[in-house]
């Protein structure tokens, strides 16, 4: 690709920008965007979100890290997203390299490109973005003039399918770790060390995983025989962790997009972590322990956010905001202070209890359209297996409260293909849906709708279900068809997730580094935006597996043994393997495990020795 300057790229892009969909995705001049002087900053980082602008801009972690890096005078951070297919085509046609939004500088000019790994189905976009930038996908083909390619986020806890493309990964919370890495890169620019020496140095930063230093061998049957670390790096990489969330960096001047994005509102992070211990939930294991922000901090942040963004809604975000110990007073204070100016509050995650329905009532600003609950499984037995501490009674009481308070649409989320699931559990979904609808009918409500949505369970690394196989997609497909058949009632609406993408997600979630060449092949043959139903190309993937002689079932549908070496064996979330094994046992015994927040310690292993503890403010 020819070398174009920022000004040339801008001029060329402007010639066709009016013709692409949503051109304001590609500008970088939004309110609160930070334009720093390129020549007066030591390290230039491009923060890359491997999906479209509207998705990436809605992600809180992206907002935090963009402003965090820019809060250091010596660092510059700009944003880049995956251009939508029409924009990509226009850029490739004219040989325009991928550029960062703020300056239009080509990515190639940056010192470091940091990708965020939010879901496995965005892996192809990462490689495609590198290719669009004219940067070799493979680390071995890159030289000292190329940027460092790094990545963090939940999928960094098993990034093995990306080994060979990414120079190093950042595990855990980056608020302290990322600036430390950037300082090392600044030093490297002044006094360059050989590549290996630099990587050894960076491998000693908390949570940094340099895959080159970890060597994997395999048994004849394909399972892993060993993962051996070189002597000068830690044998196990343990995540970085913010000890004092209340004083941690949080931006109150986020970028305000021109176009409507997925979560188009202010976001307040009321707490981090969740200790409810749902056994399928990866986030619940990765972000422990629970740490809350104080009410004073949140109110101060809200005030600054309102002033700097002009948004009329603030979302109280976390993995389960209803569990935040000061939720009621915080909502009341926000509404008291800003309600008059038309500012409302939203709660993105609701528990299945009437307390949360009460909260939803308090925050409901507009017409009562829909309220969502996630029982996750259709029977009590299966809910006990997954440790979703919710009873049918809880749900029906909550639903009754919701109908009484005027809601007319109830949305219920379930997973299909959960470990130990039988036909009874599937029938349980239908049963529960009917009971929910009957509550409405009994209250004399007409025109109610119960929306049932099912997704296909994907076993995730670092959870008690990591050893579980994913159910065969044909069988889950049948179950979903069965549900579609049985939920044909005018009171119901049924939607379900396509099994093909969830299957590929399982392959990559539990995959190892042998998938890397296959991933590259798929990208070269046109795979991208795999999470988008209209873009997903199953044919490419099936050809890819054939081409490399790799059996996808080996990854997705094989039950692993406790003594199998997992592809992510050397990467630690802080929750011990011993705890995950015991939780898996308890799941199979249908035994519930209590939330350590209000009760005794369940021994997951996160707190001891890390200078952290559960932090409640209520």
């Amino acid at each position: 690709m020819s070398k174009l300057t920022a000004a040339e790229i801008r001029r060329q892009v402007e010639r066709f920008l009016p013709k692409v969909l949503k051109p304001s995705r590609y500008l970088g001049s939004e309110w609160n965007a930070i334009k720093k002087d390129w020549d007066k900053t030591d390290v230039h980082m491009a923060f890359a979100f491997p999906d479209v602008y509207e998705v990436g801009m809605s992600h809180l972690g992206t907002r935090i890290l963009y402003h965090l890096v820019n809060s250091f005078p010596e660092f510059l951070c700009e944003r880049v997203f995956a251009p939508w297919v029409d924009m990509e085509e226009a850029m490739r046609e004219r040989k325009i390299p991928l550029y960062a939004l703020e300056s239009f500088q080509p990515l190639q000019e940056f010192d470091v490109i940091g990708f965020t790994l939010q879901y496995e189905m965005s892996f192809t976009n990462i490689l495609n973005m590198l290719d669009l930038a004219g940067i070799p996908m493979r680390a071995e083909e890159r030289g000292p003039e190329d940027p460092w390619i790094i990545a963090g986020g939940p999928c960094a806890f098993n990034p093995e399918p990306l080994v060979g493309f990414i120079d190093f990964f950042l595990l855990g919370e980056s608020e302290e770790q990322l600036p430390e890495v950037l300082r090392l890169i600044a030093e490297q620019k002044v006094n360059p060390l050989p590549r290996r020496d630099f990587l050894v140095k960076v491998a000693h930063v908390q949570g940094v995983y340099v895959p080159d230093f970890y060597h994997v061998t395999y048994k004849p049957d394909g399972r892993i025989e060993s993962i051996k670390a070189e002597t000068d790096v830690p044998s196990v990489v343990e995540k970085a962790l913010v000890q004092d969330l209340d004083n941690a960096f949080f931006p109150t001047n986020p970028v305000v997009p021109y176009l409507e994005i997925v979560h188009d509102r202010m976001m307040l992070e009321v707490m981090r972590g969740c200790s409810r211990g749902c056994r399928f939930c990866q986030a619940g294991m990765l972000y422990r322990p629970v740490r809350e922000r104080s009410q004073e901090t949140l109110l101060k942040q809200t005030e600054e956010l309102v002033r700097s963004t002009g948004y009329d809604q603030v979302a109280l975000t976390s993995l389960s905001s209803g569990d935040y110990s000061c939720i009621q007073p915080v909502i009341e204070s926000i509404l008291e202070k800003h309600g008059e100016d038309g500012v409302g509050v939203s709660l993105p995650s609701l528990r299945v209890d009437s307390f949360d329905v009460g909260l939803a009532e308090t925050v409901q600003k507009a017409r009562k359209s829909g309220i969502t609950f996630a029982p996750e499984a259709g029977s009590q037995r299966l809910r006990d297996v997954i440790n979703k501490g919710v009873t049918e009674e809880n749900l029906l009481t909550a639903v009754e409260a919701a109908f009484q308070k005027g809601w007319s649409t109830i949305k219920l989320y379930f997973m299909v293909g959960l470990p130990t699931e039988t036909q009874e559990d599937i029938d349980g979904i239908i049963d529960l849906a009917k009971k929910v609808a009957n509550v409405g009918t009994k209250l004399g409500r007409r025109n109610i709708t119960v929306t049932i949505a099912t997704s296909f369970f994907v076993p995730k690394p670092h959870t008690p279900f990591q050893w579980e196989p994913q159910e065969a997609k044909a069988s889950v497909d049948l179950k979903q068809r069965y549900l579609r058949e049985k939920l044909r009632d005018r009171r119901f609406k049924y939607s379900y997730h396509d099994v093909k993408t969830s299957y590929l997600e399982a392959v990559f979630a539990k995959g190892d580094r042998r998938l890397a060449p296959l991933l590259e092949w798929a990208v070269r043959h046109g795979a991208r935006f795999d999470g988008w139903g209209d873009q997903f190309r199953e044919d490419i993937w099936m050809d890819a597996f054939k081409e490399f002689g790799i059996d996808p079932h080996f990854y997705a549908n094989r039950a692993m043994d406790y003594d199998d070496i997992l592809p992510w064996e050397h990467l630690e979330s802080g929750v011990t393997k011993q705890y995950l094994v015991s939780e898996h046992h308890r799941a199979l015994q249908e035994a519930k495990t209590i939330d350590c927040r209000h009760d005794e310690c369940s021994g997951c292993g996160i707190c001891p020795g890390r200078g952290v503890q559960i932090e409640l403010k209520g």
Partner: protein
């Protein structure tokens, strides 16, 4: 207090879609700490309304917006505070408090003028250009096929065109075009030039075309005036 404001929509702001423009103004006013009036009903929206949409990518040198505020405030101060909160490319030019019962922009605006810069594909003599323009304007009907979702539809674009002049500057031609606009629709500047190229055989490079809307007007008996009347307004420094 109902405000009518004239503003530019140039540079990066020209890529802001018409539907997104309400949000851009709404957030700017809120950041400025100025209380807006809201619609009644289940989903109250701030009372902000515009004139005819500007195509994405086309610059507007003088566009208008109406914003209703909860309280009476000093006009100059309000405009200044809002300006501080607007993204690059949107500059407030003039503002006026509307009198009670003033009609909304959509009800009063009925014409627009454009300046179009276009590259010549082959050299054109000035006389040839004038001939072509005159010949085109002399036509009573001009059929243009517009491609819509339902396939091509023919429409007569001539009645919409009120004025068209062209002048050669180096290797490009600058056209001044004035069209009628209304609820029944209008004609796009690109369509007029495409038709001129086709019917009068003018070698224009349609790939190298820059359109700017220079103004929107209240046109009455052959006279154009601004929807902001010429008394009591506040002129802002450039």
């Amino acid at each position: 207090m109902r405000l009518r404001i004239a503003y530019t929509k140039v540079e990066d702001a020209r890529y802001i879609a018409h539907l997104d423009l309400t949000r851009v103004f709404e957030r700017a006013v809120r950041r400025a700490g100025i209380a807006m009036s809201y619609t009644e009903g289940f989903n109250p929206r701030p009372k902000i309304s515009f004139g005819f949409a500007l195509a994405v990518g086309t610059e507007g040198e003088r566009e208008y917006v109406d914003i209703e505020l909860q309280r009476e405030l000093d006009l100059g101060e309000v405009l200044g505070r809002i300006q501080e909160q607007l993204p690059p490319g949107i500059r407030l030019l003039q503002g006026r408090a509307l009198t009670q019962g003033a009609k909304p922009l959509m009800a009063v605006l009925n014409s627009a003028s454009y300046r179009i810069r276009i590259l010549m594909a082959l050299p054109i003599l000035p006389e040839r250009l004038q001939e072509a323009v005159s010949a085109w304007l002399a036509r009573e009907h001009v059929t243009y096929s517009r491609y819509t979702k339902k396939g091509p539809t023919d429409k007569d674009i001539r009645p919409w065109v009120k004025r068209l002049v062209g002048e050669i500057h180096g290797d490009e031609i600058i056209f001044e075009l004035e069209v009628e606009m209304g609820n029944a629709g209008s004609v796009r500047p690109e369509e007029v030039l495409a038709s001129l190229r086709e019917l009068e055989k003018l070698p224009l490079d349609m790939e190298e075309l820059h359109v700017k809307r220079t103004g929107v007007h209240v046109s009455y008996q052959g006279r154009n005036s601004s929807p902001i009347e010429h008394d009591g307004f506040v002129q802002l420094a450039e």
